[in-house]
């Protein structure tokens, strides 16, 4: 039953229009981002078309722009980061939600939150002065027979793909692990009890829960992937910023976000600027698609018992 309306209609209209304007403004900002990036890259799209993503020469002096090395670097570093971080993130999520004693849970959640709170620039600084020298040491110590493998080719510079992948994986772990944790929480207890009743060991019961939560877990991992793709400062500071397409973990490479960070403020002529904005446009589009898919996956878990809980966690983690 609706409450009796003593109020004037005008008040309600004003309230709705007032708050609605801000709501529309928020929607307009997202639209404006897409539009402005598209407008801002028009020259480059016209001049190069698809060639932009198929050629390797990036030479602002002669006005030749090919972005293939950057997209390679972005994808390769993010995939490597995913390979390193996923097992760790899942292990943490499983430990906190399934195994840890109650008293340990909160502190452990706090630790992962701390990991997420450290700013990218601080990871970058640490990367330059601590991680890179460490990685250089590893490279120097690489045994001779390994150096022939394409993965470990090249001089021991320290800066390069391996350092970038390591720092990215550290930064991605808290995101995917906190979402995976909430997803596991949404698995009904009866799933585990059923498994135990049939004589399952602890791991077998956990495996059942993991299987039940598989969509959400894939979503959690993809969310981390989206984060890694757009990560800028820390990667820029350790990847070496050199447009190479190489499988080697030791080679300095470049990412889309890093080239924006390094060159944007210096881009003087229009075509150069447009080429950079186009990189931004594509970064926007890729992360958008990845995020929409991972959100759909994560929220499909919401339909089960704990509405909105997973959603809130995902939001905090930046989904």
């Amino acid at each position: 039953m609706a409450p009796p309306r003593l109020n004037t209609r005008g008040d309600e209209v004003l309230f709705r229009a007032g708050t609605g304007t801000f709501a529309l403004l928020l929607i307009a900002i997202v639209g404006a981002i897409a539009l402005a990036l598209y407008e801002g890259s028009r020259l480059s799209i016209q001049a190069f078309g698809w060639q932009f993503w198929r050629t390797d020469t990036w030479d602002p002096v002669v006005g030749q722009f090919g972005a293939r090395p950057f997209i390679w670097g972005t994808l390769y570093s993010s995939i490597l980061a995913l390979i390193i971080s996923t097992p760790v993130a899942l292990g943490i999520a499983i430990y906190i939600s399934e195994l840890a004693p109650e008293a340990l849970r909160r502190p452990l959640v706090f630790v992962t939150e701390l990991l997420a709170a450290i700013p990218s620039i601080v990871y970058g600084l640490w990367g330059i002065f601590v991680l890179v020298p460490f990685v250089r040491g590893l490279q120097v110590a690489t045994p001779e027979w390994l150096r022939g493998v394409p993965l470990f080719e090249g001089p021991p510079l320290g800066v390069g793909m391996l350092s970038a992948a390591l720092i990215l994986s550290i930064m991605v772990i808290p995101f995917s692990s906190s979402v995976a944790r909430e997803v596991l929480k949404a698995v009904p207890q009866s799933q585990r009890e059923g498994a135990y009743a049939l004589g399952a060991t602890r791991w077998e019961a956990i495996r059942m829960a993991l299987f039940y939560a598989r969509t959400g877990i894939v979503g959690a991992v993809m969310l981390g992937f989206g984060r890694a793709l757009g990560e800028t400062m820390a990667v820029t500071m350790v990847i070496g910023n050199s447009p190479n397409i190489s499988l080697s973990l030791y080679a300095p490479q470049y990412t889309m976000a890093a080239v924006l960070a390094n060159e944007f403020a210096e881009a003087t002529d229009d075509l150069y600027l447009n080429a950079l904005v186009e990189i931004g446009l594509v970064l926007f589009a890729i992360t958008l698609v990845i995020n929409v898919i991972s959100r759909t996956f994560i929220w499909s878990m919401d339909r089960q018992r704990r509405p909105r809980l997973v959603r809130t966690a995902a939001m905090r983690a930046g989904a």
Partner: protein, 283 residues
């Protein structure tokens, strides 16, 4: 029996691996904090907060201008983001089922996932290029855009947590909807909304990428919002990639200040949440 033993061993192995995953994540956390604190403290002094940067080769000096700049840019961002975030959150909570509410939620979630460097590119095209100048305003705009989604989402969620009896009481007393929302529901959710704002501040306090080509940098003391301005994060970046020992020390000191700022914001957010929870339990 043999098979059962194997199952049990496998179970123990996996459990051990999961526990080890925690240790693996702890190692970088401890190392980063250790280096930032140890290097930072030894380089941090009073001059860092009060003095201007010195030219290359002249040791000493501080980041007074960058600290002031960071505060100004963050403040500009908050001023821009809080009204949009809170009001659109109110809209989404009040008109929950409408198409616009769905669109706002989608927009906020999308914005939340946009890489910060892309926001920088966007702001450059709309607020730097047309005026032919980097500015503190542009930097604030970029940070503000990053704050909006988190504020909007927490506002919406927390307004929904307010017990419906409060609102019904207000309506029963003859309040209009607007009056009920602004004088009863929003005040009840205020600590929660504050949490959202603090979390958003914690998130942007360490942002560098969106400032690189919006606020840019400035070697001098500046409080003019239409001019380029120096910020702590960009300054740390500049110093970190420069080849001078003394600048590296300053970069570590800056990193320590940044980490402390982020932690203080998170801590305050935590306190506000605790208050909110107490209030809800106490009724």
């Amino acid at each position: 029996m043999n098979r059962d033993t194997r199952r049990r061993i496998l179970s123990h192995v996996v459990i051990t691996l999961c526990g080890m995953a925690i240790l693996v994540a702890l190692v970088p956390l401890v190392l980063v904090l250790f280096h930032v604190i140890s290097q930072g403290i030894s380089s941090l002094n009073f001059a860092f907060f009060t003095e201007m940067p010195r030219p290359v080769g002249e040791p000493g000096g501080g980041m007074a201008n960058a600290i002031a700049g960071s505060l100004i840019v963050t403040l500009l961002g908050a001023v821009f983001a809080i009204p949009i975030g809170v009001m659109s959150g109110i809209y989404a909570a009040e008109y929950s089922g409408t198409r616009i509410a769905g669109a706002v939620r989608f927009a906020a979630d999308t914005l939340n996932g946009v890489p910060s460097i892309v926001i920088g590119v966007f702001v450059y095209t709309i607020a730097v290029l047309p005026f032919r100048s980097f500015s503190a305003l542009a930097g604030g705009l970029a940070l503000g855009i990053m704050m909006i989604p988190l504020i909007m989402r927490t506002t919406e969620e927390l307004l929904r947590l307010v017990p419906p009896t409060l609102r019904e009481g207000a309506l029963a007393l003859g309040a209009t909807r607007a009056r009920a929302v602004f004088t009863v529901v929003v005040p009840a959710a205020l600590p929660g909304i504050l949490t959202g704002i603090l979390l958003a501040l914690a998130r942007i306090a360490g942002e560098t990428a969106p400032l690189l080509f919006t606020a840019f940098n400035n070697r001098f003391w500046s409080t003019d919002v239409t001019q380029p301005i120096s910020t702590l994060t960009v300054q740390v970046f500049t110093y970190a990639i420069a080849p001078y020992e003394d600048w590296h020390r300053q970069a570590w000191a800056g990193a320590l200040v940044l980490v402390m700022m982020v932690f203080i914001c998170s801590l305050l957010a935590r306190l506000a949440t605790a208050r909110m929870e107490r209030m809800q339990r106490g009724g």
